[in-house]
Assembly symmetry: C2
Amino acid sequence: MTFTLSSSDLLDLSVGAAVLGTGGGGDPHIGRLMARRAIGSGHVRVLGLDDVDDDWFVVPCAQMGAPSIGAEKLPNGAEPVQALRTLETYVGRTADAVVAVECGGINSMIPLVVAAQTGLPVVDADGMGRAFPELQMKTFAAYGVSGSPMAMAGEFGETSIIDTGGDNARMEWLARGVTMRMGGVAHISEFSMDGRDLKRTAIPGTLTLGLTIGRAVRRARTEHRPVSEALAEVVAESGYAGVRSLFNGKIVDVERTVDAGFTKGRARFRAFESAAELVVDFQNEFLTARLDGELVCVVPDLICVLDSETGEAITTDRLRYGQRVQVLGIGTPPVMRTEAALAAFGPAAFGLDTPFVPVEQLA
Amino acid sequence: MTFTLSSSDLLDLSVGAAVLGTGGGGDPHIGRLMARRAIGSGHVRVLGLDDVDDDWFVVPCAQMGAPSIGAEKLPNGAEPVQALRTLETYVGRTADAVVAVECGGINSMIPLVVAAQTGLPVVDADGMGRAFPELQMKTFAAYGVSGSPMAMAGEFGETSIIDTGGDNARMEWLARGVTMRMGGVAHISEFSMDGRDLKRTAIPGTLTLGLTIGRAVRRARTEHRPVSEALAEVVAESGYAGVRSLFNGKIVDVERTVDAGFTKGRARFRAFESAAELVVDFQNEFLTARLDGELVCVVPDLICVLDSETGEAITTDRLRYGQRVQVLGIGTPPVMRTEAALAAFGPAAFGLDTPFVPVEQLA
């Protein structure tokens, strides 16, 4: 299904992408400003995954780095296309379309920036169905697409290409080192592939899902309905496994550091009218939620912390003492829960010693 | 002047390169083993700088990293050529010759490894006239050659290309980050240029100088002559500004850390028959020598610490308490003492607050 997206859609998309960002993925607000500037009064053409030709060359475009640095160190705006052009030159092919690596956070927007600046269409899909902190944590990788060669661009016009053959974890390791030296944030093109592979490995419709979630949140606020209810309705119509309410309360403690290029830490939430405590750990994104010590949601299922008043998602770098929040769990689609997928981005990939159990069973 | 170099020359070259390494440049012993394996019973063709055609494409090849890591983490042997091939593919040109970036330490040998494996000739020249710790510290850079694009190869077959346009210091910054992520040692091709630029910016004859110094040290030992005397004779016939004896004594203290990809520290030497103390600071290579607080030699002049018994140079990562040594200063050629050269690798480039004064005036 082809449609056009204009600047007036960006606010809804940024709200939805913040939910799908599960605390990370970079601040979609900054991505929205970049996309708004790039699109202006024009528009971007969005193609359904089925509209992609098998032989097309499709390039995923993204920002990489610690969200808490990305929130302060803004791009000059030319980096995303420069990363694309660097990749194109290296592989000797020209992109037919761009796509998101993750539908959450700022990376919902970066492909729109590239599309607006180049005239290329954007495919309505991504490789995470949410946001993840590391490059190899993608359905693209889980189902056999190589991340290399990868192109990176920094704010001073510098570029880097990394080629680790089929070793996506090593690509992440090297690229993270370059990102830190580029100041903590870089723009990248990686996991380039033909349309055939994209259709085989991507999660379809996630750009639309972000837009739909954003619209639902906006309407719920206008209609004074609970945002979680509106979210549940939208998610029920997607391929995702439904929404669970995990907790209502306020933030009583946040530990957060930037370590090895990631925003890492832990937040504690206390219930309003009992001693119940929720503890959420994060590495850019939320990883686990434990209610009085019992696991209630674990990666790759989505943990979303929504502001109780606005219904908007709060990113890990914006968690503050005293915020009143509702914490939701969203079950991921089946393609993200296979053995191959969990090997790429399940609990063990984060060093957690818990097996994956769907949020529908836990909460 | 063209000549051929065989495995039997490597021991002399490694001894001479250790002297020219001024404490750093990586352990030439390991480079010698790599070159011996690559050359086998064959040989490498060495061309004088004047024999290089103006339109040739010449590629400097080197190892990069902290010497104390390079001494323990040996390459698999394929990396140097892989870095060259990666650069060739990226720029779309094939090398006509290779050259050393530095004539000191292991990097006197890496071009020989590449030459032996590819059949290319090696140019008898380099871009440092010694060894320096950072990529932009080259006569190539001082006289306007761009280091970018730069290719890097690691032990697992991974490659990286870095392109910072004319900003060689930023190239160093990014490449150092990649080197650390490649395990502390990487192999690189950078500052590729045509023969015209090489002739304009390189220091001629430094491969021969390394060989000649090595032979002189060997003969001096056979003839029971002081090594410093033999060195002075050889250097007097080169473009270098002569040899000064700075100190005789033993090492009484060594502080050494690996920090940000470099081997950094300070060594203290006590005289045999007085309370005189020499303090030498280093960042991979020796930077300053102070005798009882007075500067007696400063970068880019060479500070060489020779084992009193063997006459062989001791690298910064092999300095040990109790070693009996002679410390020499060697004055660099005029091309390394111009304003442009000192801006690239003089005392200020290392954050030192002393102006450059030639060792002939200081000691």
